[in-house]
Amino acid sequence: MSSQQVEPIDDRASEYHIIDTDFHLQISGEDLLPYMENETIRAKCEEFGFPSMMSSGFNMSYAFGRDENPEETHGSAVTSDEISEVMKELDVDEAIVQPSNFLPMPSTKYPEIKTAVARAYNDYLMEKVVDADRGIYGGLVVPDWNVEAGLGELDRYGVDRAIVAAQNWCPGYHMVTSAKNDPLHQRVVDLDLNWVLHGQGAKGDPTSRIEEQKQTFTEMAVTSHMWWAADFIVHGVTHGLFDKFPDLNFVLNEAGLLHLPAIAYRMDEYYQVAPHDISLTKRKLESGEEYLDRLPSEYVWDHFYVGTQPINLARNKGENAAQLTALHASETFVFSTDWPHSTMDIPTWVFDNPNIDEDLRERIFHENAEEILRLPS
């Protein structure tokens, strides 16, 4: 790390205990090569590079007006020492480290390579990054495209005190909430973990005609994360995930906030008038149950937490207050920065919102995260 003196950005934050649920680790594929066990895979990746992510063809520099990589706008830190310095600058006391956008596994081909990369990432994470004594924790990457491999990762590192959550993506290609992943959900619950999911980056399906018509960053950033989160939440609820696993919960990072009430109550609307196909979902066929145990909205508020970045509440004070209430902010918000990406947040907004009182501030900064994450005591 550079020899720059650490100067906290906002003095007010020093008075609070702050947990960041979305701190990115910017390692590249090359960093993982030494950890890749399969010689064939390692040799191919070393010689020819890693599989590329499916690209929707956006050039973010057009939108931002500067030529840079928006995944590294705010710097770089790849070791526990470097991460610790950044945390001091942000006045973050504990951070949950997640892969940066180089690792949106669900959207790439070559499942064996993806599995090897996920495994190597976890090895790197445990060896060079996490440090529970300094509040640097890991979201353990758990492959869902290969359930056996995912179980293997949970077996390898799931009990480590520096692992506080199972990590996956809120994707457009696989539903982690699918019944095929129930062995993973069971193991996550058995380990007293929950899931932390991150969007796959603001990328759309390049084969979609709808996506083909989008050409602005605003279109991409608004719709991709949010729509994927909506798909994910609705799928999990209506396929009985939380009836089977009532202790399972999700943190959705960078997935948006404002659509939660819409999802919750729109589900109630349609479920109440047309619930009779719930019994055809795999979990309900196995259990013999016909319907959900509760109204869909109840699952939303009980089982989902949202990383607050990017915070985008209304500027109008009255509307802002209504949003916080409608979003059940005191139960759902977990503070997140998204460091070092170009859309990151710092703790300042939690102080400057006149509708956030001391109690809500504590809930957002750390109390909700302490409920959902298996943090070391």
């Binding site: 790390m1 550079s2 720059q4 950005i9 906002d10 910017q26 390692i27 931002f64 007006g65 500067r66 840079e68 706008t73 705010h74 710097g75 770089s76 830190a77 790849v78 070791t79 470097e82 310095e85 950044v86 600058e89 915070i311 170009s342 859309t343 990151m344 947040d345 710092i346 300042t348 907004w349 400057d352």
Partner: protein, 123 residues
């Protein structure tokens, strides 16, 4: 209009911002080729501070980034257009008017000047 002394010119290095508080007002002062510009140290977008614009980015030594010759800086200072880009989300503000052209959002600007080596601001 009261005039406040806020430091010597040496305390306001070229090519970056410097945080100053005057009469309860926190501002960022930018030195662009010797010309001084004061702007409220609160980006109108999300009210995050502006004063670190121009500072070197915190880069990883382990990754070799810290040794790059073209070391990156926080945000951007455009000396030709006399504008800054906020380090947080890259919104651009004219240092003369404090305005972000695409949105009309505006940060207050202040008349900061060098008076024979003493930097002053009129409030």
């Amino acid at each position: 209009m009261p005039t406040h002394e806020i430091g010597t010119i040496q305390e306001f290095p070229e090519g970056r911002g410097t945080k100053v508080e005057v009469s309860g007002i926190e501002m960022a002062v930018f030195n662009i080729d010797g010309d001084l510009y004061g702007i409220a140290n609160t980006c109108p977008h999300k009210r995050y501070p502006l004063h670190r614009i121009g500072e070197p980015l915190r880069l990883s030594k382990a990754r070799g980034d810290a040794d790059q010759r073209d070391r990156k800086v926080r945000g951007l200072i455009d000396t030709e257009s006399c504008s800054i880009q906020c380090e947080w989300h890259m919104m651009e503000f004219d240092l003369e008017t404090g305005t972000n052209e695409p949105t009309g959002l505006m940060a207050a600007t202040f008349d900061v000047y060098n008076d024979d080596g003493v930097v002053k601001v009129d409030l």
